[in-house]
Amino acid sequence: MAQTRNAVIVGGGTSKFGVRQAHLLDMIQEAMRACADDLPGLKPADIDGLIIATTMAGRHSSALNTAPLVVQRLGLSPTSICIRVDTLCAGSNSAIIVAKGLIESGIADVILVTGGEKVYMPQRWETNYTQLAVNDHDWDSAMGLGVPPPFFAMIAKMHMKRYGTTKEQMAHVSVTNYGHGEGHVNGHFAGRTLTMEQALEARIIADPFGLYDCCPLSDGASAVVIASEERAKAMSDRPLVYLRGTGQHATHSMSAGWPGDTLAEWPHLKTAGEVAFKNAKLTPKDIDIAETHDCFTISEIIELEELGFCKKGEGGAFVASGEIGLNGTIPTNTDGGLLVYGHPFGASGARQAIEICKQLQGRAIHQVKDAAFGLTHNLSGTCAQHTVVIYGKEPVK
């Protein structure tokens, strides 16, 4: 189908992320409230489509068919689309890709993309136990692979062995992201700071990871409005932020299908990035700011390599040299990322999109000067799938 019009992100907001005393639907309402604060004048009747991204809703909130529940709680009456999507940690980024297509094709005009998770249960064991169901259950999970740290610890060990990456270099990621997280009051670790010494002396979670190498599991929700260019202009006077290009690539579901030579190479991310850059008619050099999936410090390092922001194997030195800071060549996770803002799986992609939207509109808390092009990335599962979305102040021509 020929593209007839452009899709833009208008604005959005998140609930407080953290270990919350709240139901999933409470937090989605909080995210909607924050989104409404960001877009004064937005009314329920303005929204003709809803996409809710969640993984845990079925199991942890007994909400298998989640979309109608969200419709009721937000006072919506969608006429173009009303669905739930689940790609685990990439849920709302996947939803944004779907929204882009629906708006560009004319099927929808204004879509609310929301994502949320209630991770923490009355007893803590259940959260770790549920993680067995987000991997390839009958195979890798039956080996005891539940929460992600052991798998990513092996990735870090391989990257250290093959490319000489160090714990100090990994700590530069967490220290930088804690700096970026400052002022984001809805973040899981809002108000906290981190020094290099604290990062390196933290208790070990899974060797070589200390506590600050790992993002938290968070309860929380986020919401963004994706609209046609015409409707966006009517809704807000802010600069338009266009969805330029997307890519999503999956190669496997369990370890036997791993596509890399070793765990330190992520060719599936490289491909997802190449597809998104081609669609966006941009190259890594054009990108001013990136929100990459820093579930672990090593993840951000490998992502910068595979997305083409630095050479393969040089990610450790790259992050240690300050290139991911606000004045670096690619300011990364300028809202604190998963490490500091937190990670309610389905909510994270939209949280990243909000930061890119604000950066490109010149109203971010830690503003990158003259940011014109931004990129978001999520990995999901045990690094089984990669999702990339590229934004710009100008549409693809």
């Binding site: 039956a142 080996m143 929460v147 740290p149 052991p150 610890a153 036997a256």
Partner: protein
């Protein structure tokens, strides 16, 4: 607040101790619940097997109902190598899921470049923390896992189960 009886505040009374399949950590291995049950029968015979496509020759793991290369459904069972080398490993010190007591040792295994199976995540059992090293050779081993009930018309049957892991070759 009045003191509540323990029976009133603990558990899910409606379930009355029922087996909950959706919370099971092991696969449903009985032929009534999957089409690759020969894999589990072969495990009981001490064999590590998978499916090979009769049309294109592709071997895949885990075993499947159709070939992921050519979508043929003409598959046969073949044996996989039972020995592998440890590329890297992780010993879980916190957060092991219920049912997997520490030390939970997971290893990234390689079966060599020529084998039908290149990488595999494997749990290493019968091993102390700190004992396993990169480059070690490990071998396939099977063990029993808890059975579960299932209904066949008006009868309740029991599915006895088995699974596999790896242990250090000493």
């Amino acid at each position: 607040m009045a003191e509540l009886q323990k029976a009133e505040i603990v558990g899910t009374p409606a379930l009355d101790g029922q087996y909950i399949g959706e919370m099971d950590i092991w696969p449903f291995e009985a032929p009534e619940f999957n089409r690759i049950y020969p894999f589990y029968d072969n495990l009981r015979a001490g064999k590590f097997t998978t499916t090979k496509c009769k049309k294109c020759g592709h071997i895949t793991f885990p075993p499947q109902v159709i070939c992921p290369k050519c979508w043929s459904d003409e598959l046969e069972w073949v044996e996989l190598p039972q020995r592998a080398k440890v590329v890297t490993l992780t010993e879980t010190q916190a957060g092991a899921p219920l049912g997997f007591e520490p030390p939970l040792i997971l290893a990234w295994l390689t079966f060599g470049d020529k084998g039908p199976l290149k990488h595999l995540l494997g749990r290493i059992i019968h091993c102390k923390e700190g004992e396993l090293k990169e480059g070690d050779e490990v071998k396939f081993v099977t063990f029993s896992v808890p059975a579960h009930p299932f209904e066949v018309k008006k009868d309740t049957k029991i599915s006895d189960r088995v699974f596999y892991a790896f242990e250090l070759v000493k």
